[in-house]
Each structure stands twice: as structure tokens, then as C-alpha cells.
Symmetry: C2
Subunit: 294 residues, 2 copies
């Protein structure tokens, strides 16, 4: 997916949110903002939005000398969702369709995305869990289930810390011996890294690899050779969240995207309403005329 | 009021909103956005936000060769509120405190501000009117009333088209022979100009002057000599809306600010909640520590 004009105000807001997470120094807040305004003025709209996100978060880490500004938030959300895990696990196992319930929860967990808004809090997570069990799915659970059943190798690309515990619930319902879970190669915003996979028990459940890149998504050329081989060999890719969608929606591959549509640009590109719970492949989507976007 | 870091994402969003009002040409949308990103990267934070707004709207008028992009919207809102006028007039005159009811409606009318958001529509205007009659006022109606009673010359600085009809309701409750109404010297976003004053009957009610400037507020040095003299001679200034507040809050003068607080920066600067109905002087306000702003 390319970058839309409407992504730009969001980049600027995200810069301000992120630099305030990294430091309380107002001079650095201003400096980061000015730098990203300049960079955004020269943005290449043909590239996917996470590349500008990458630039924003790289700049902030460099300017503030804080290598992982969201570390505390990531730990807090891992801990919070691990606290919910036993009850959610019971909910999944007691439900008439455990895989569907787990998929719904995995999509709900995608709300823990500090790129879309910094205003996520635990009450929003709780509410999203609750509504996710009854909300209409945009896509097809049956086809997801069929794709899982017929796939030899499944590559599950994670998105955010905290959310990874919800992913664990879903992966527990999949044939784990065939699943590899993917984390980012380095810290970027609250995206999931190997530390999160270890802290949340994912490494004990399935094979976990990192993709060798600290972009909030999958730019294949920037990923490690090991990841690219796993990607090439996978029969089915399950990609969580908007960043993975924005970077992989144009890639030829059987990919199921599981996400909460949290911004109008992504919702329009998929053809769903804002807030939708999406579980589908690009060919299932019906892009709207984004005629108020370039 | 100076410009805060949080004004910047809003400027960028406003640029996109405004250029889309002016033209459907996506190349111009992109060009305007790139230009304003560059300008915002070099913004002087010591100046009030409407100066960047001025730059945005001037650029868009120049790029698109549309001298008054909001003309249609301004006419629509003047017409819409003129349609409501007879019923609102009856409401004011039938109420136990006509001046308070009229002041409440004048503040409600400040919701018609396409700078704060392009998503104003008639249903939002209707809802704001309804809630304005019962909402708590931030400030003091009694002191406003006392200031009006004791003032010889009253300068009432208007803000937006549509809103001007609400201003008319309030001015009808004031000693009209002592009131001068001020419009902008040229079109800028949906701010009120002489054409709006003529279309809505304001020119038949009181003396109307323009300030000689097309900034969304009052930068005295940019205003005409005639306006500056009227401003100097006024015993009381009634200033409507955020733009007038942002530019006049630091000026020594008896000024009552009447506005809906529509953004967190202005609400924080005043010390009220977002959405508050404000009627007060700077000395009545209790600025919050805007510690997450520079």
C-alpha cells in the first residue's frame, strides 16, 4: 500500500506522541518535530507508510539516545495481558468454536497499537475484548480455517507487545508444530521483539524468528536472508496488524491479514468500516475509491 | 498565545481539509501539503497559531487561484442559521434572561469553525444549540452583563460565517447604538467578511467595519488604521472564537472572550475542559500547566 496524503498529519502526530514517550525534554520534542516535518515534505508517496514510521522512530531513538523508548509500555502490556490470559484461555476452550474465539481475541489484541493512537489504555483493551466476541468479522473465518488446515508451513507475523499474548491464544489452536512466529529484528515503537516473545511464553510454544529489520511491517528487501527463506517456503502467512498489511498487501503470497482497522486510510484500502475486525486475503477485500486521497 | 507543538499536526490536517475544499486536483493537494510541511518545519513558536493558518489559506488561494474557497460553505451556513433565526429569536425573548440565552447561543454558534475540524454539519450545530442552553458556562455571565452596562463603546469582533447570525441574536440584546461589529478584511477559511454581515442583516443592526486584515484573528500591526483606532477607543471588546482568543489573549484591554473551546491547546491555555462554553476575561482564566506542550 502506498502512502496517502491523510497519512501525513498522522505521521506528525505520531512523531509528537513518540518523542514524548522517549523524553521529557521539550527541546528534543521540537527538534524531532521539525526534522520529521522536513522529511515528510519530501516523502515518496509510492512507498508504504511504515517507511516513514521507521524514519520517525529511528530519528527519535538517535536524538534522545534511548534505544527502546517503548520498553516500559511494552512490558506493562505484556504483563497486563498475561494477567488476562488464564481467563481468556478458559473462554476459548469453553466456547463452541475455539479457533474462531481465539481468532477474534487475536484481532481484538491488535488494538494495542501506539502508532494508530497513543490513547490506548487498559479499559480500551477490556472493551475491545468484550465487543470482539460478538462483532461481525470482515472476511471469512471458514476460509481462514481451511487455509490453516491445508497449509504445511505457517508463518505467523506478529505485530505488537501485549497483542502477542492474544496471538498465543490463537496459535495454541493451530497445529503448533507447523507454525513459526515472527518478531521484528529490533525495537520500533511498541512492535513485538524477541524479548516479548520470551517474556510471554511464545518461544516455548512455537519456533520464533526475527525478521532482521526494525520497520513496523515487512519490507522483504530489508529483512534477513533467514526470514526471506522462511517467507518463501511458507504455504500460509498470517500477518497481524496494519503495518504488516501496509507493507505486504501488494506481495503475491497466500496471506491472511488479521487486524482491527484503526484508521480511515487502511479501512478504505480494505473496503471495511473504521473499527472493523478483519480476517481475510487481499482478494477478499473491496478497496473503496479513496477519492479524497491522492 | 504562542504556537504549541500540538498545533502542528492540526495545521497539517487543516491544510489538507482546506485544499480539498478549494480544488479536487490531487496534484494541488500534494503540493499544498508539501509546502506547508516545509513552512511548519521552520515555524516560529513564539507567534500565535493564526499566523500559520494565514499562511496555509493564503498559499491555498494562490495555488488554486480560488480567491474564496469557503464561499459556498459560508453562504450555506448563513442561510441555514438564518432559517433557525426566527425560532431562536423567540426563544431568546421568551426566556427569563434574554441576554444570557442570547450569549449562550452566540457561544454555541462558534461551533461553525472549519479550522478546528472540517466535520461540522448542521446536525452538530443543532445539537450544540440544544446543549448550550443548559451547559455550565466557564466564566461569569453577571460580569459580562456588568461590563456591557458600563461600557460606552463596545467592539464586537466576529469570527465565522453562520455564527454571525448567532452574534446578531446577542447584539440585539446589547445597546446597539454603542456596538460596532468587526469582520475580517478579506476571505480566510470560513471567517466572517463584510459580505456575510450584509447577507445576515448585521449591517442593518449596527455599524460594521472590517479590520483590514485576512488573518483568522486580530494581529493589531496587520490591521487598518481605522480598525486600530476603533480598538483603542473601545471600552469593551467582545471577541468571538479561538482565533481571536489566540491573537488577543496577550493584549492589555478589557476583552471578554466568548467561545467554544474546541481544541486541547486552547482549552488548556484557558484552563477549561474541551468543549467548554467560555465567557470571560484572561484574568478569569486559570491556564493549566501545558507540560506536554513546549
Amino acid at each position: 500500500m502506498k502512502t496517502y496524503l491523510d497519512c501525513i498529519p498522522c505521521f506528525i502526530r505520531q512523531t509528537l506522541d513518540a518523542v514524548r514517550v522517549a523524553t521529557t525534554d521539550p527541546a528534543l520534542h521540537e527538534l524531532a518535530l521539525r526534522e520529521i516535518l522536513k522529511a515528510a515534505g519530501e516523502v515518496d508517496f509510492s512507498l508504504p507508510p511504515p517507511l516513514m514510521g521507521h524514519r520517525i522512530h529511528h530519528l527519535i531513538r538517535t536524538l534522545t539516545n534511548v534505544p527502546d523508548p517503548y520498553k516500559l509500555l511494552k512490558d506493562q502490556y505484556n504483563t497486563y495481558v498475561l494477567g488476562l490470559y488464564p481467563a481468556l484461555k478458559e473462554l476459548v476452550e469453553g466456547s463452541p468454536g475455539p479457533i474462531e474465539t481465539a481468532a477474534r481475541l487475536a484481532i481484538a489484541g491488535n488494538i494495542i497499537d501506539f502508532g494508530a493512537t497513543i490513547k490506548v489504555d487498559q479499559s480500551i483493551v477490556d472493551k475491545t475484548i468484550e465487543s470482539s466476541l460478538g462483532d461481525k468479522l470482515f472476511g471469512s473465518m471458514a476460509e481462514f480455517q481451511a487455509a490453516v488446515n491445508s497449509a504445511g508451513r505457517i508463518l505467523y507475523i506478529g505485530d505488537n507487545a501485549g497483542e502477542i499474548v492474544f496471538d498465543r491464544l490463537l496459535i495454541e489452536q493451530l497445529p503448533t508444530e507447523r507454525v513459526t512466529f515472527v518478531v521484528r529484528g529490533g525495537p520500533v515503537i511498541n512492535d513485538v521483539t524477541m524479548a516479548d516473545a520470551m517474556d510471554t511464553g511464545m518461544t516455548e510454544l512455537v519456533k520464533v524468528i526475527d525478521n532482521g529489520s526494525d520497520v513496523q511491517g515487512i519490507i522483504l528487501e530489508e529483512c534477513s536472508e533467514e526470514f526471506r527463506q522462511s517467507f518463501a517456503k511458507a504455504d500460509l502467512v498470517i500477518a497481524k496488524g496494519q503495518g504488516n498489511y501496509e507493507t505486504l498487501s501488494g506481495v503475491e503470497k497466500p496471506i491472511f491479514f488479521l487486524l482491527k482497522a484503526k484508521c480511515l486510510v487502511v479501512a478504505g484500502h480494505i473496503g471495511c468500516d473504521l473499527g472493523s475486525m478483519v480476517i481475510g486475503r487481499v482478494e477478499d477485500f473491496k478497496p473503496q475509491e479513496l477519492n479524497h486521497h491522492v
